[in-house]
């Protein structure tokens, strides 16, 4: 209950806020580079079938673990498959897993979070379940889920999604809970807007910015978790190359054929780096507090 004028933003805060934070134009060189890297990797991965020299699955027992050569740009793997072709094709699946996990967990988390933030009764039940899901270690859950469904693309995405959903739910719920204390929401109540309408039109858009940010982090971590699952033998089948299982297959050759880990690892790290950086930038730009100060 603030009845005291100007208590929310002291002159000092307004000043520092006004001048030190970036206006829309000041994005900086880092995120630009990140965006370029990401676009290049995504394009290269999506278009991989058009230009890779070999079928990423085609084996040649006589050409195992060959060093890089004009014939095999990055050498071959223990099955004699062309590493370059596999790495480039693998990006498609890794990115698909990342984007898939991000979209699915954000969508489910948003729906559950809105309900939890809005209906007190459902809230306590939902949050207990979410607490439980959070308490189960993600990797163990993922291994168990993959063991349950077999290591298909879908089960890897589900396995990554399940532990992420509670985090999204908590985020959405907290945004909804704090946003509904805003005077403009009270004004909407006074204007006779119905509760579902307030929920969808006033409250939900508040969750978009944090969700975009969260989504990028989920995307990045999904790609990483897929790699770890492959390492533990619970990843996607080797018939579907991913950066994760290429690295996992190559891990024992770390000392003698570092390329098997290095190249997919490099692309994976660059990709995650870029996504994280863009996520940070998005967070800075989308923060409503900063938006207000642009004016």
């Amino acid at each position: 209950m603030t009845e005291i004028p100007q208590s929310r933003h002291s002159a000092f805060q307004v000043l520092t806020g006004l001048f030190s934070l970036p206006a829309g134009a000041r994005i900086g060189i880092g995120p630009m580079i990140a965006a370029v890297i990401l676009v290049v990797i995504v394009l290269a991965s999506v278009l991989a079938p058009l230009y890779v020299p070999y079928d990423p699955l085609s084996m040649n027992a006589m050409a195992r673990l060959k060093p890089p050569s004009p014939e095999h740009l990055l050498g071959t793997d223990p099955y004699g498959r062309d590493t370059f072709s596999r790495v480039m094709t693998g990006g498609r699946v890794s990115l698909l897993i990342g984007v898939g996990a991000a979209v699915v967990s954000v969508a489910i988390g948003l729906a559950i979070g809105l309900v939890a933030g809005f209906f007190r009764l459902a809230d306590s039940i939902i949050m207990r379940i979410m607490d439980s899901l959070m308490a189960i270690p993600a990797i163990l859950l993922a291994i168990a889920l993959v063991a349950l469904n077999g290591p298909s693309l879908m089960s890897v995405i589900i396995a990554i999604t399940v532990p992420e959903v509670p985090r999204v739910v908590r985020l959405v719920r907290s945004v909804v809970l704090s946003a509904r204390e805003e005077p403009y929401v009270e004004a909407a109540i006074a204007l006779g807007s119905s509760m579902p309408r307030i929920l969808i039109q006033h409250l939900m858009p508040n969750t978009f910015a944090p969700l975009i940010v969260q989504g990028t982090y989920i995307c990045a971590s999904a790609i990483l978790i897929e790699a770890i699952l492959s390492f533990l033998g619970a990843g996607v089948s080797t018939e579907i190359p991913t950066w994760g299982n290429i690295m996992a297959e190559g891990r024992t050759y770390f000392q003698i054929k570092p390329g098997l880990i290095f190249w997919p690892g490099l692309l994976l790290s660059l990709c995650i780096l870029a996504i994280n950086l863009l996520g940070d930038t998005a967070r800075d730009l989308l923060d409503p507090r900063m938006k207000k100060r642009e004016g």
Partner: protein, 561 residues
């Protein structure tokens, strides 16, 4: 009205600012934030720096402290001379020595200005630890002594209290103790009483004066409140857009301002003389409130602290075209009443009849059709509009909810823009593109769009600069005249209430202590509390708008700070 009348003729100059310029870091082309400030403050003098928000008052003070936000603002020219020491070029370590010892500062919001996780005594003592070689026990006894000097009660207990356990006034006393413990030459007070209730404000102003008198400190007092200026200033500097436009001794400034801007500023200052009451309306009352009770803790959509009786036995009625003001200090329950009437919270007991319907205990669904009869304008213009919505969308939300076709709502919205004196193209813009005053106009337009019978203004002008405040009050007046709407006006500022209300209801700790026609209550208060409030109102004896003392001073004379 008596002004301070110190003789400062022989006093030494403590701070001398010459041609001070401050600009944005990395944006040399942008307009300077401070553009050639000259300022002299003498020992024992109280120099008031007044101006509206954004005029550069705070930047000036931060500059003198060497505390400009790094990477955002930088000094681009001029000098600040603190008795021979040049501050603009002083090294950080040198600056640290000066602070607290030679030049100290207190801030507007004592809640945020004190570190919430450290005991207040330790925070005062830290000054001694940083700047003196006193032993632990000496430092402590000196701290206790200083706390007693600022009239804190139960010093031993408060020493080890945390800021959140103290009242606003106590916190500000801690700040003052902290600032003055090393007996600095210059005290900079940046809006030190703005966040406080009027009665507390009065005490703090007295305390600063007392301390100044005792130590001979020079005080640079920054405020936007002309009333406060009238009470304490020796000299006044008026700032506008990074420049000092006028400087004069207090009496000269108030009686004979030279600059147009100063005149405009003074004319906008409300005074305690109640407006002429409007004729009683013949129509039945728009709203009748009977025996309204609100106790927090019993649930409700927006839950608050448990078991607090926020409003008890509140009854009133408002006729069309008339304004009832609810005044009181923070925590008096005035906003609770407003929120109960709006049904943003559910009253515990009592009746609220709006436009003939009892609404206090309707279910949300039953209530919905009646919502259009009463609308609210909130205090904080920065939060009362959805930042993601265009103005047009915000304006149409209500009418569309009640079945108005979108086109009709849009054209009505365009008319409303004219009503609140904003350009038509404002409709397609977003809230962040407007100033605080403009936003408040939009919020009023949004409320008016519903053609309500009752308009509740909850501290609707409190966050605005005084000139903007006057404009918004005029607008509300216009609207009331045009539409004959009844208005419930919640404010903590008696001067504002005097300007706009026909009737006044004074609340204290959830109870109504006095209610009646504004003229009666404000000129001849029956209740002690009302009297205290009136007496604490700063500059209440001066008619700023007419550059003279009030001829019929309200309430009893006396008790000037």
């Amino acid at each position: 009205m008596e002004f301070t009348s110190k003789d400062l003729g022989n006093a030494r100059t403590v701070l001398k600012i010459r041609g001070l310029k401050v600009g944005l870091v990395g944006r040399p082309g942008a307009a300077p934030v401070l553009d050639g400030i000259d300022l002299d403050i003498r020992a024992g003098e109280t120099h008031c720096l007044v101006g509206e928000s954004g005029s550069g008052k705070s930047v000036t003070s931060l500059c003198a402290m060497g505390l400009l936000p790094r990477g955002a603002l930088e000094t681009t020219g001029g000098s600040i001379d603190l008795e021979g020491i040049e501050i603009t070029t002083a090294r950080p370590a040198r600056m640290r020595e000066l602070r607290a010892r030679r030049i100290a500062m207190i801030f507007q919001e004592p809640m945020t200005a004190l570190n919430p996780v450290l005991r207040v005594g330790e925070q005062i003592e830290e000054v001694l630890n940083m700047h003196t070689d006193l032993s632990q026990s000496e430092a402590r006894s000196r701290t206790i002594d200083m706390m007693e000097q600022v009239h804190l009660p139960d010093v031993q207990r408060i020493y080890s209290a945390f800021p959140h356990q103290l009242s606003g006034g106590q916190r500000q006393r801690i700040m003052i103790a902290m600032a003055l413990i090393l007996d600095p030459d210059l005290l900079i007070a940046d809006e030190p009483t703005t966040a406080l209730d009027v009665t507390t404000q009065l005490q703090i102003l007295k305390l600063i004066a007392e301390m100044q008198h005792r130590h001979g400190t020079a005080v640079l007092f920054i405020t936007h409140d002309m009333g406060v200026v009238a009470e304490i200033a020796d000299t006044v500097s008026v700032m506008q857009s990074g420049r000092i436009v006028e400087r004069a001794p207090i009496r000269d400034l108030l009686t004979n301002p030279q600059e147009t801007y100063t005149r405009k500023l003074l004319q906008a200052v409300p005074n305690l003389a109640p407006r002429a009451a409007r004729g009683a309306a013949a129509a039945p009352d728009v709203i009748t409130v009977k025996a309204l009770d609100m106790t927090y803790g019993g649930g409700g959509f927006f839950r608050k602290a448990a078991g607090v009786k926020a409003a008890q036995d509140v009854s009133f009625a408002i006729a069309p075209g008339r304004t009832l003001g609810i005044v009181g200090e923070s925590g008096s329950g005035k906003s609770t009443v407003a929120r109960c009437i709006l049904r943003l919270i559910d009253p515990t007991a009592g009746q609220v009849t709006v436009a003939g319907t009892e609404i206090a205990h309707l279910s949300r669904r039953q209530l919905q059709p009646h919502r259009k009869h009463f609308q609210i304008v909130f205090q904080d213009p920065y939060r009362s509009l959805n930042p993601r919505w265009t103005v047009a969308r915000s304006l149409c939300e209500g009418p569309v909810n009640f079945g108005t076709p979108r086109e009709a709502a849009m054209s009505h919205a365009a008319e409303l823009m004219a009503l609140v004196d904003l350009p038509r193209d404002a409709l397609d813009r977003y809230p962040h593109q407007f100033s605080g005053g403009q936003r408040q106009r939009i919020a009023i337009a949004r409320a008016v769009a519903m053609k309500p019978d009752l308009l509740v203004a909850d501290e609707a002008v409190s966050a605005l600069d005084v000139s903007v405040q006057a404009q918004v009050l005029d607008l509300l007046d216009d609207i009331q005249e045009k539409f004959g709407v009844a208005m419930l006006f919640i404010t903590h500022d008696l001067r504002v209430a005097a300007q706009i209300c026909d009737e006044v209801l004074v609340m204290q700790k959830g109870r109504v202590v006095e209610q009646g026609p504004a003229a009666a209550v404000l000129s001849d208060p029956a209740h002690t509390y009302t009297r205290t409030l009136i007496e604490a109102a700063p500059g209440r004896l001066w008619d700023f708008a007419n550059f003279r003392a009030l001829d019929h001073a309200p309430a009893r004379q006396g008790a000037t700070a």
